[in-house]
Symmetry: D2
Subunit: 492 residues, 4 copies
C-alpha cells in the first residue's frame, strides 16, 4: 500500500521522472507542464534547464513543480530546448544541490543531465574518477555521468556520451542537453520507462510516461528502445545503439504501483494490467464477501477488476483526504492509527456488518496494512480480507526504486499466514508470481521481477548496498535549508 503515504517509511519511493523537449519556443513552459504530469514520480524537488542554442539556463528547487516555478522564473528560462526532472528523496537528501538536472561546464562547453534509475557500479566509477582527480559535489550517482563525459578523449560529443554510458551498469533513463543537442538514452535492460512523441509544430518530446505527452498534446510515437541513444539537433533526429542488444528487463513495479493508470508503459496499458491483476486475484483467491473496496488511489483499478470478476459490488469504503500536508501535530493523548486516519476515512455505511475485501497494490513493512485493517474493522466490518495486487516483495530493488533492506520487508521475514496475523486480516492473499508472469505472457521474460523472484538481471557490485545506504548518509552539500552530513569516502 503506498503512494498516498509519501511521508511515512512504509512505502515504495520512485526516484524520478524526466522530460526532454526540442524545437519549441515555449520549451520551458511545456517542460514544466510535463513535469507536473509526472509529479507522482517525485515530489521532493524539480528542475529545468534550457538552451537557446548558445547558452544554457537552469532553475532547480526543493518542493513541487508548482512551488519551484512561477511565470517569472519560466520566463527567464529562454530557449527552444529543455530538459526537466522531478525527484523523490527523503528529507535528509533533499539538499538543493542534489536536485537535478545537473549542469557542468567542461572542456567543450556545457552539458546537463537528468536521470531516472540507479547505477549499480556507481561506487566503483566514483572511486576510479576520484583516483584520477575528480571532485564530487553531490552524493548522487548521476554525477559520475558528467565526469565520464568530461574525461572522455573522444569526439564528437555523441562519442563522448556513448563512451560514458558504456561505463554505466544498472538502470538509467537519461536525457541530456547541450547548447545544441537533446539526447535521450535508455540502458540496455530498459529497466525504467522512457517514451518519445511529437507535437504538431514538430517539437520532439521525451518523457518517463505517456501521461506527460498527453498533457502537452504531443503524439506518442514509440518507446526509446533499451540500449538506444536518440539524438536530436537542428539537423534532425538520429538514433544509435549503445551496445549489443540484451533482453529487456522492464520494471514490473511501474505497472503495479508507480505509473499513472492513464499511462501506457513498456507498450502496455497500466490500467489494463491492474484491472487484470484484480481479476486474477478474484479467480485465484476468492472469498465470500459483500463488498470490495480499495486502498486509494493505488489499489483502485485492481479493486475494480476484483469486484468485476467476483461479481460483488465495488464501493468507496475508504475516502482519501486531499489535504494531507507535510506534518500534522498529534495530541498528547494519542489518537490510535493517527497517521492513517488523517489520510483515510472509512465510510461506516459501506462497511458496517459487511464482509469486506480490501485491495492494495503491495505490502512493504506491513505496518500500514495493519492500521488499515483495524480502521475497517472499527468501522464495523464483520470480516476483512486483504488482497494484494502484487506478489510478496522479498528483495530490495537495485534499479532505481528506493526499497528498504530486505530484513525490513514483511514478506521476507514472515510467511503469508504470519503476515496475515500481523496485519490482523481474516484472510490475506497475494498475486502469485506465476500468475503475474502468465498475465505478461511471452513478454514475461522481458520484465524484471527481481523484488519478487530474486532473479536480478544484473548483480549489484560488492559494497553496493552499503553504498546506496551510506552514500545517502554521506550526502553532502551546502543547502539553504538543512545541514547535511558527509563522511570521508576515503582517508589520507
Amino acid at each position: 500500500m503506498a503512494g498516498w503515504m509519501e511521508h511515512e517509511a512504509d512505502s515504495w519511493r520512485e526516484e524520478c521522472g524526466v522530460v526532454g523537449i526540442f524545437g519549441d519556443d515555449e520549451a520551458s513552459k511545456l517542460c514544466y507542464l510535463a513535469l507536473h504530469a509526472l509529479q507522482h514520480r517525485g515530489q521532493e524537488g524539480a528542475g529545468i534547464v534550457t538552451s537557446d542554442g548558445g547558452s544554457m539556463r537552469a532553475i532547480t528547487g526543493v518542493g513541487l513543480v508548482s512551488e519551484v516555478f512561477n511565470q517569472e522564473k519560466l520566463g527567464k528560462l529562454i530557449g527552444s530546448s529543455a530538459i526537466g526532472h522531478v525527484r523523490y528523496a527523503t528529507a535528509g537528501e533533499s539538499a538543493l544541490r542534489n536536485v537535478q538536472p545537473f549542469v557542468a561546464g567542461y572542456r567543450f562547453g556545457s552539458v546537463a543531465v537528468a536521470h531516472n534509475g540507479n547505477l549499480v557500479n556507481y561506487k566503483e566509477l566514483r572511486a576510479r574518477l576520484e583516483e584520477s582527480g575528480s571532485i564530487f559535489n553531490t552524493s548522487s550517482d548521476t554525477e559520475v555521468v558528467l565526469h565520464l563525459i568530461a574525461t572522455s578523449k573522444a569526439r564528437p560529443f555523441i562519442s563522448r556520451l556513448v563512451y560514458a554510458c558504456e561505463q554505466l551498469e544498472g538502470a538509467y533513463s537519461l536525457v541530456f542537453l547541450t547548447e545544441d543537442k537533446l539526447v535521450a538514452v535508455r540502458d540496455p535492460y530498459g529497466f525504467r520507462p522512457l517514451v518519445m512523441g511529437w507535437r504538431k509544430n514538430g517539437a520532439l518530446v521525451f518523457a518517463s510516461e505517456t501521461c506527460a505527452l498527453d498533457l502537452i498534446e504531443a503524439e506518442f510515437e514509440r518507446e526509446v528502445n533499451p540500449g538506444e541513444v536518440v539524438v536530436m539537433d537542428k539537423d534532425g533526429i538520429s538514433s544509435l545503439c549503445l551496445m549489443h542488444r540484451q533482453e529487456r528487463k522492464a520494471c514490473i513495479f511501474e505497472h503495479i504501483y508507480f505509473a499513472l493508470p492513464n499511462s501506457v508503459v513498456f507498450g502496455r496499458s497500466v490500467y489494463e494490467s491492474r484491472y487484470r491483476i484484480g481479476q486474477i486475484l478474484a479467480e485465484e483467491s476468492p472469498v465470500d464477501c459483500d463488498v470490495v473496496i480499495a486502498v486509494p488511489d493505488s489499489g483502485m483499478v485492481a479493486a475494480l477488476g476484483y469486484a468485476d470478476k467476483a461479481g460483488v459490488p465495488f464501493q468507496q469504503g475508504l475516502i482519501r483526504s486531499h489535504y494531507v500536508g507535510r506534518t500534522f501535530i498529534e495530541p498528547h493523548q494519542k489518537i490510535r492509527d493517527f497517521g492513517v486516519k488523517l489520510k483515510l476515512a472509512p465510510v461506516h455505511n459501506v462497511l458496517k456488518g459487511k464482509r469486506v475485501v480490501v485491495v492494495d497494490d503491495s505490502i512493504v513493512r506491513g505496518t500500514t496494512s495493519s492500521k488499515i485493517v483495524r480502521l475497517i474493522k472499527e468501522a464495523g466490518a464483520k470480516e476483512v480480507h486483504m488482497r494484494i495486487a502484487s506478489p510478496p516483495i522479498t528483495g530490495s530493488c537495485y534499479y532505481g526504486v528506493d526499497t528498504p533492506c530486505k530484513e525490513e520487508l514483511i514478506s521476507y521475514r514472515l510467511s503469508v499466514e504470519e503476515s496475515r496475523k500481523f496485519i490482523g486480516a481474516d484472510s490475506l492473499a497475494f498475486l502469485p508470481l506465476d500468475s503475474l508472469r502468465s498475465m505478461l505472457g511471452e513478454e514475461a521474460p522481458t520484465f524484471c521481477d527481481a523484488c519478487f523472484s530474486g532473479q536480478y538481471p544484473i548483480l549489484p557490485r560488492a559494497g553496493f548496498y552499503e553504498q546506496s545506504k551510506s552514500t545517502q548518509a554521506e550526502t553532502f552539500l551546502p543547502d539553504n535549508g538543512s545541514a547535511i552530513k558527509y563522511k570521508p569516502v576515503g582517508a589520507v
Copy 2:
C-alpha cells in the same frame, strides 16, 4: 460538476465549516484536527480561538489549516475550550480580517463566533446597527451577531445571545466562545448541518460534519436541533429553544455535493444518498452503454450506484491529479481545455471505442461539463452520455452557498436539450426533482430544495441580492495580502 475545480468560476462554493470543543486540555490541537477533517468545506482561511477560563487567544490566517497552524502556534493557544472555522471565499474576500472566528471585546468581556450560513436580513440589521452608531470592520454578515449581543440590554450572556439570534433571519449554524462558555446555535430551519458528540474524557465537541468527530475520536450523539441553543460551561450542558419550532429545511445540496461521503448529515448517510441517486438515474434515464465513469471525486458514489443498477461496469475513466495548485501557467500556444486537463486525465484504454456514461454531481454554468465531454470524446469514446446526480439548478441559494446569479445558470437559461447541445453530449439527463423528493420520502418537506424548485423557505429581503454581491465588492479591510475595495454603504 465541482469541488475539484476550486479555482474556476464554474462551481458551487460552500461557505464554511465550524468546530467547538469544551473540556479538553488539548482543545486547540483537537480543534485543528477537526478543522482538517472539514477542510473540504473551506480552503481559503482558517482560525482558532481558545479560552483558558479567564482570557482568550486567537490565531487566524489565510490558507489551508496545515498552512495557518504549526506546533508553535497551537502551543500558544492554551485553554481547554476552543472554537474554529474554515472559510471558503474568492480571492478578493480572503482578506485576513474576514477570516473567522471573529472576536470582540465589549461591556461584559470577550466573545468569539464562527458561522456557517448566510443571513438574509444582514443588510437591514447592519443598517439598523449603524443607525445607532455601530462601526463595521468586515463585510461579513457574521459581524452583526457580535454587535447584536453587545447592544443587548439583557443579562445574563445567554439572554443576550438569544436576543441576538432572534434578530437573525436566514441560515446559521453558529458556535460561540466566551471566557467560560461554549455555545452552539442552529437556525430554526436548520439549513446548515451541526452535530455534537463526546470524547471519552468527557469533552464536548460540535462540528459541521460527523467526519470531524470521527477523526478526533468523539462519539456522535445527535444533531444540534433546528432552533436549538446548546450551552456548555463548567456546570454542565443545557439546551434551550430559540423560538417556536418551524419545519426543518435542511440543505439537500449537502448530500449532493458538499459533505464528505463518510459523513452522516441531517441523520442520513451521504454515501447512501448519492449511491441511491445514481441508481435512480440509471432507472429513470437508462441508456445503452459499455462503461460508467465518474467525474472525480464528487460524482464517484453516484456513478457506482448508476453502474450497479445499470449492470454495466464502473471504470476509472478520468484520473484526478493530486497536485493541482493555485495557478498554472499556460503556453501561448493554447492547449485546448487546459484547465480541465491539468486536473483530469482520461484513460484511453477505458474510453476508446466505448459508449460512455459519465456521472457528475451537478451542472452550474455548463462550461466545465462541455470540456469534460470533449476530453472523453478525444480519448476515443464513441458516445458520451452525461448523467447529473441532481435536478437542474435554476435558482440561486440565499442560505450560505455561494451560487452565481440565476442568469448564469445553464439550467435557468436553457432547456435540457439545449443544455445537451451546449455541452456536446450524446444524451443528458438530470435527476428529476420528484425522484429526489421520493427518495427522501416523508422527510422530503424537511429539506430545502429551493435552488431546484424555487420554493424558498424564507425570502431574501429587498436588496439582498445586491447586498450579497455588492457587499463582496465592498469587502473591506486591512490585510497584509491584498488591497480590498469597499464602497460607502450610505453617504453623508
Copy 3:
C-alpha cells in the same frame, strides 16, 4: 541612550508616524515614500489606505515599510488621496489587527484614521462606548475615535469628527480619510508634531516630520496648529478650531531623541537644538578630556556641539553596525555585554589611553549605559565621562511615548552620583532642566517637559496607568502571526 537599541527594553519607544496626501494620482506611492522617511518613528508595522473618491482600499502589515509594500500592492491602492501610518510596538502587540490606519464602515460610509499620540481618557471613553453597545476589535486607544464618530448624531462629517475629537483628552495628531476628504487634527496641547506642505502639482501633504515632505518634494508650509482641524476636499482647503486655544505643550523629547536631525519640529531645527544642548553640556559640565565621542546615532549631534564648545576633537569612537537584525544567537560561553557589542564596536586607536567624554541622548534604566562605559574602558580609555543631552528622566510619559513605569527609571531611583557609580563612569552629568528651558527661551512654556519636571499638562485619569499597561497585555486579536492574549474588560 536609545534608538539603535530597538529590541532591548532600555529605550524610549515612539508610538507612530502619520502621513496624509490629497490630490495626487500617485498618492499611495508618495505615502509609501513618506512613511519610509518616517520609518525611525515606528518599525513594527505599516499601513496605507487610499480613496479614489468613491471607494477605499487598505493594506497593512507587520514589519518595515519596505517589507509590507511592493510594486504590486501599491498598484492596488488606487486613488488620489491616502493616509499612512508607521507603528512602534513590542512584539506581543504587533498583532496585525492593531496596525493602523484603522478603517470602519458606518452609517454614512467609510472612514479611516491614523494616530500618533495617546489618549489619557481612553479607558473611560471605551467603557462609555461599550456601555452603549460598541464592540472593540483592537486594544488600541485609536479605535474609540471611530466609534465616537459613528455614534455622533451630528452632520455633516466634519461636525461628527469635531464632536468626536472634543471627547478626546491627551495627545493626538490624527489624519482621517473618507471617500472624499482628507482631514488632519492636532490636539489643543499640540503634544505631537504634525506639519503640512504642498507638492508642485497642488497636492496637499501632511506628515509627522518635515523630513517626509523633503523626500517627496513637498514644500513645507506650516505646522498644523494645536487644536486645529484642517479639511481638504475637492472644494479646497479649510480650517477650523477644535476648541478655545490652550497653551501649546509640545513634546521636548522630539528634539532630544525622536525626530531626525534633518527635520524641523515645532518650528525649531532639531539639529540646532541638539548641537546647542551639546554646547551647554560642555559649558556647564566641563571636564579635562582628550576626545569627545558619541553614542551613535542619537548622541551624535550633541557630541559635535560638546566638542565644539570644549575645543576638544570629536572622534568616531564607537562604530554602529548596520546589520543588526531581530535576534542574535549568543554562545553558551557568554560574551560580556554581548547585545551592545553586536551593535557598537569601539575604535581602540581613538580610545586607548584617552580621557573620553561620551555623549548620549538620555538614560532610561541605565543598563545600556553601564555596558557602553565598560566597552569604552575595555578599549583602553583612561577615563570615561558620560554627558547626557537631556535632564534626568524621573517620570513616565502619558502622551504617546512608551516609557517604563517610573520605578524602573534610574533617575527616579538614584541620585546622579549613585547613577554614576551604577554605570561605572568617572563622571556623569545631565543637561540641567533650567538650561534646557533657558535654551528654549520664551518658548519654554510651550513645551512639555513632564518626564523631567513632573509638570504634567493634563493628568492621566484614574486607572490610566493600569490601562496603558494592562490594555496592552489584553491586546487582542486574530493575527496570522502570534497568539494574543486578551482578558475580559468587565464580566457578566
Copy 4:
C-alpha cells in the same frame, strides 16, 4: 561615494570576508558572529562548514548572515572547527551554488574552502583542468583550488594543498577545512588581509579583519604572513612558507574604503589612516569654507581629519537612512536624484548659506557624486567643495575588488577639472598619490596602489578581463532563485 550605496553600480564592491575557527565546541556560533562582524565585506550570501573530526556539515544561503542562519541551523552545524564566508556579488551571480564555502568530496575525503581575492590565471587553470577532464559547477575562480588539490598526486594533505596554491596567481586569502585540519593561506603578495588570534579557551581564529576577533573575544596575535600556510590540527599549530618571499603588496583600498575603522589592517589602524588622509587633504587642498561634512559612513573619518586640520567645524550635513532595503518604488513623476535621496538626507540648517567641504572616500563613475553635490546645493549651500580621500582611480583592480572596466572610471576619462564640472562642484581635489605614499612612509612599496598608479604587481593573463566579465555572464548554476546564464567556455 560608497558603501551605503550597495545596490547601485557606482561603487566598489569587495568580494568577501573569511573566517576559520579550530578547537571550540561552539565553532559554528562563533563563526556566525565573526561573519556578522565582517558583514560589511559581503551582503549577498553567507555560509558555514563545520567538522566534528569525522564528518563535515555545511549550510549556505543567499542574504545576510542573520537571514541565512538561525538557532536551529547553527545547532545542526556540530563540530569544534569551522570555516565561514560572506560574499558580495551582483544579483545575477548570487546563485546559491556560488555561495562559499565550497565543499568537495574526493579521493582522500572532503575538503572545504573559503576565498577572499581573485585569481588572475583562473581561466588558464580552468582550461588546463578541463583539458584533463574536470567539470565545473560554478563560475567562481575558487573552484579551481579544489580541483588542483584533488588532482595532486602528493601526500599528505598539506603537500597537495601547497601544490595547489603554487599554481595560483593573484590574490588569495584562503581558509580550508578538512575532517581534522584548519588551514589558512595568504598569497605571497598578501593582497588581501588575513589575521589570526586566540580565544582564552585556546581556540584558534582566523578572520579577514580584527573586528571579527574583537566581537568573539579572540586576542589578535598577528597577520598571516604573505606566502604563509598556517596549519592547525589536534597536534597543534605549524607554519610553512608557500614560496620564496616576495615584497608584500597589500591593498591600500582596504584602508581607504573596505575595512571598518575599528579594524587594524596590515598592521595599521584604519581609523588613523583615514584621519591622516583627511588632514593631508586639508593641507594640500585647502579652501575657504564654513563647514566640513562627510558622505556617510565611509567618508566620515577622513572628514573629521580634514575638519581638524582645517580648523573648521565638522557637522553632520548628510543623514544616512538605516532602512534602505533592496528596491524602492519610484513614482512615475520622477523625483530628482531619487536613489540618493532615499539614502541621504541633507540637513538644511547645517548647509544653508554655507561654503561646504564634503569629504567622500573615492569617486568611481562620478554619477553619485554629482547627485550628492546637487543635494547639498539644493539644501542651500553657497559653495560645495568636494574632497576625495583617495587618489583618482584610473585602472581596474585584478585582485579581488570588483571594479568597472577603466573606460567607465571618471578619472580615466576626465581630468580633475573636467570631473569637477561633471559633478558640479565648486572645487574638487583628490588625495595626491605621492601624499598617500608619503603617508605610508617606508611601507609604501609594500602596498598595492595599482588602481591609482597603474603599477600592477602581477599582470593579468591574456583574456583575464573577458574572463572576469564573461565568466560572470557565464555564471552558471541551478539555484532555487534565479535563472543563470552560462555560455560554453569552448566548443566541440
